[in-house]
């Protein structure tokens, strides 16, 4: 899970001011690092689509926000992503994947298998990662793509990177 520290470093290098999230096991280490950072305003959401809107609002106010979520949250975002597409807001989200690798819960499969297609259809550029050593540079590239290149982007963090959840079985 040390790759989370590489994402945090990329956030700091890119000058990220706000991090919106729905609590997630895969993102736990990164979320805690952001909460501990007084220069990053963290926003705990009730649903992921709020984070899309918070990101847009942050940009209107001159700040950079990132949305952290799990693949099951992607489906909650679809209509709100029309805001990103229509207004061409720079937007970047880091998605921990479920339903890919030793998944215990079949209810995670539908969004796990359609996250990439859903986000591509909504107009985002996608990068998928399974190699923990490559997370840092590709996180930096995703942030650059959004806030310098003005291309909305999603970084999909493969389930091989996150702890296997077994519900004690």
């Amino acid at each position: 899970m040390e790759w989370a520290d590489d994402i945090y470093t990329a956030f700091k290098d890119a000058g990220i001011n706000q991090v919106a999230y729905v609590p997630d096991a895969g993102h736990k280490r990164l979320i805690n690092a952001c909460i501990a950072d007084n220069d990053i305003q963290t926003v705990s959401l009730t649903t992921e689509e709020e984070g899309v809107a918070v990101s847009a609002g942050a940009w209107l106010g001159g700040q950079k926000c990132v949305l952290l979520m799990q693949s099951s949250g992607v489906g909650n975002c679809i209509n709100m992503l029309s805001l990103i597409e229509t207004c061409r807001f720079p937007f970047v989200t880091f998605v921990t994947m479920r339903g890919q690798w030793h998944e215990f819960n079949p209810w995670q499969m539908p969004m796990g298998t359609t996250t990439k297609l859903s986000l591509e259809t909504a107009g985002l550029l996608i990068d998928e990662i399974d190699d923990p050593n490559d997370v840092g540079p590709r996180a930096a590239a995703a942030l650059h793509k959004a806030f310098v290149g003005a291309q909305s982007t999603a970084l999909l963090l493969g389930q091989r990177l996150v702890p296997v959840k077994t519900f004690g079985k």
Binding site: Q18, Q41, E50, L60, G61, G62
Partner: protein, 199 residues
């Protein structure tokens, strides 16, 4: 019960004009859709970001903006239908607790853009109580001109987050439309706030 809103004394276009001019420095996010037409009628300005879609997004956009601009007053003005679609955002606002954010819900108890069908507020749902339950302590309902006057300073300047339901008459009004070009609306807002270098 569902006809009562046709007798509410406050007219939404008058309320928008009052709020727009009560604090000329205030940044405003208006939700889909009648509140957009109300504020455009009151005076289309770059400090207003009007939403033509993204229903349920007005409050969280206002939250991101409020956190980014802590020294500016931010007001979200939206309708009861738009508020109900993103109601969980009130809990998110309560936890983030931005002091500079006010949320005003123009509540005509109707879905105005789809044929004036009743929303849940026409019967049993109380949005001010909901906001309090979500954790926004300073939440109240305004029903007439005297109450609007009494609550105005809270909306434009008191430390928040502030939540006000403003009961407005359900009435047919002409469309007064802002630009539909989202890129233009975003850019003019940023240039006005941050300067020419912001685009």
């Amino acid at each position: 019960m569902s006809e009562r809103a046709e007798q509410f004394p406050l007219h939404r276009r008058d309320v928008a004009k009052t709020l727009l001019h009560a604090n000329e420095d205030m940044l405003i996010v208006t939700g889909l859709g009648s509140t957009n037409w109300d504020f455009t009628a009151a005076g289309d300005q770059p400090r207003i970001f009007p939403l033509w879609g993204a229903m349920g997004g007005a409050v969280p956009i206002g939250l991101g903006l409020a956190l980014a601009q802590p020294n500016k007053r931010i007001m979200v003005a939206t309708g009861d239908g738009e508020m109900l679609m993103g109601i969980g955002a009130l809990a998110t606002v309560a936890v983030a607790a931005p002091k500079n954010l006010a949320i005003c819900v123009f509540d005509n108890e109707r879905y105005g853009e789809t044929g004036m069908q009743t929303t849940h507020t026409a019967s049993v749902t109380d949005l001010a109580l909901t906001a309090k339950g979500m954790g926004i302590q300073d939440a109240d309902t305004i029903t007439d001109e005297a109450e609007l006057k009494a609550h105005l300073s809270a909306i434009i300047s008191t430390d928040g987050p502030i939540f006000r339901v403003i009961k407005v008459r359900a009435e047919p009004l002409d469309f007064v439309l802002p630009s539909k070009d989202g890129v233009h609306l975003k850019n003019r807002f940023r240039v006005n706030l941050l300067g020419e270098g912001a685009v």
